[in-house]
């Protein structure tokens, strides 16, 4: 027996014919997409809350991905947001600053909330822009005033 053949091979990556939760999740997505079209109701599925065999999460992602939109966030670590090849179905993956996945969601929506500009951030942005504009105006002013006074 060769050395390679003597090493036991353990199948912790379940074979193609032995998965159970991929199809039900895809059906759930289809129903949610129907509802989004009919009523506008959105839905979020937390992939970490469902028992999945090794390789099943990848299979779901492979089946869905990828569509026309791919966005990257840098907020407390990177996040990646894909619209899948099925319009209205988004895959949102959050990483921490060490690049570990801290959340993975399938969102059935027109656009994930996290991509929208947030009210609080816009309020801060207005003040910041105002300050920067007034500082710029101030820095131009003194020379002219000084010349006029002398």
């Amino acid at each position: 027996m060769s050395e390679e053949a003597a090493i036991p091979q353990f199948n912790i990556q379940i074979g193609n014919d032995l998965t159970w939760n991929v199809q039900p999740i895809l059906h759930e997505i289809r129903h949610a997409l129907d509802k989004l079209l009919e009523t506008g109701e959105t839905r979020v599925i937390d992939l970490r809350s469902i028992p999945l065999a090794p390789g099943e999460e990848d299979r779901i992602i492979d089946t869905l991905c990828c569509g026309e939109v791919h966005a990257k966030l840098n907020a407390l670590g990177p996040s990646e947001i894909y619209e899948t090849r099925f319009a209205g179905v988004w895959l949102v993956t959050h990483h921490n600053e060490e690049n570990d996945i801290i959340g993975r969601f399938i969102e059935i929506t027109r656009i994930p909330d996290i991509l929208k500009s947030q009210h609080e951030d816009m309020s801060i942005a207005v003040h910041q822009l105002e300050n920067e504009l007034s500082e710029a105006a101030e820095s131009n002013k003194p020379e002219t005033d000084a010349e006029t006074n002398t």
């Binding site: 907020a75 407390l76 801290i102």
Partner: protein
Amino acid sequence: MTKDLSRKDRTLGETLRSQGVSRRSFLKFCAATASMMALPPSMIPTIANALEKARRPSVIWLSFQECTGCTESLTRAHTASVESLIFDSISLDYHHTLQAAAGHAAEAAREAAMEENHGKYLVVVDGSIPNGNNGYSTIAGISNYDMLIETAKGAAAIVTVGTCAAFGGIPHAKPNPTGAVSVSDIIKDKPIINVPGCPPIPVVITGVLTHFLTFGTIPDLDNLGRPKTFFGQSIHDRCYRRPFYDKGLFAETFDDEGARQGWCLYKLGCKGPTTYNACATTKWNGGVSFPIEAGHPCIGCSEPNFWDGGGFYKAISIPTENITKTTMYAAAAGVAAGVAIGATGRMKKSAAGKAHQKVTIDDLEK
């Protein structure tokens, strides 16, 4: 001191904004928190509103007869940014493994925190309490028993972290030389949240603290005082190998064809059917894997008396010397097929043992 007090008075939202954390980052944090707490994503806006207004609670962490594995589990957690944000939002006023102060200075910090936050602070306990001779374990000359009684008096609630604090754990195992008992054996007049495990999953520990921080209430508990969110379902029910069990496909030894095919580990002693925990979904090491996924049966570490449960590699319902008792175990576990499987199990195991002369259950039991 004034600076510290003003920091304590801040809400979590104010603390995060002062650190330059945007609302979008905060929403991401809330999404990860909801996932961590096993709450439905529809709760994310509720969590965001509650956390925005939450104030930093004082936490006093008492370590008694323990191995520090529970603290290691928490501090080595992989989801660093979520945990660090949670810990930024509590005031950990006493933890003798982590704090810089020692001896009388450390005890003074505990007493000050108890006085300042009377009726509002959280007590976290890891380790069991020797109740035969209190001298078996003392801190700064104070017995574990006296320190628990004294600290629990002004607590809003107690969180036991690890099986030792929740149920007695390994120190409680026979012959229990120190007379080790759990927190709930001593404290009867305070809400106690048990977070067992040897060690507990780090996100389960932070999930419970976050629940208290977010909602200011005790989560729904099962009959053993464990939060139902994390301990509401058995490992078996959430295990990805469960369909193999349903099909009657079992590994008989650790190196047979069944083991290679990733079949159910029930006959190798898996305690999944009688163990309630979140390992099968939350998993370990940042969601990478859990013992069953790595090919080892669940040892039932989050259940009472797990160390005296009769052998990690003995199947829970294979008839042995006492068929009545074993059948009762099977019934209690709700394993309808267990007895039938058990009846044929020994024969198959014996045959498999002859075919594979490497590591057997018997070797591991020696």
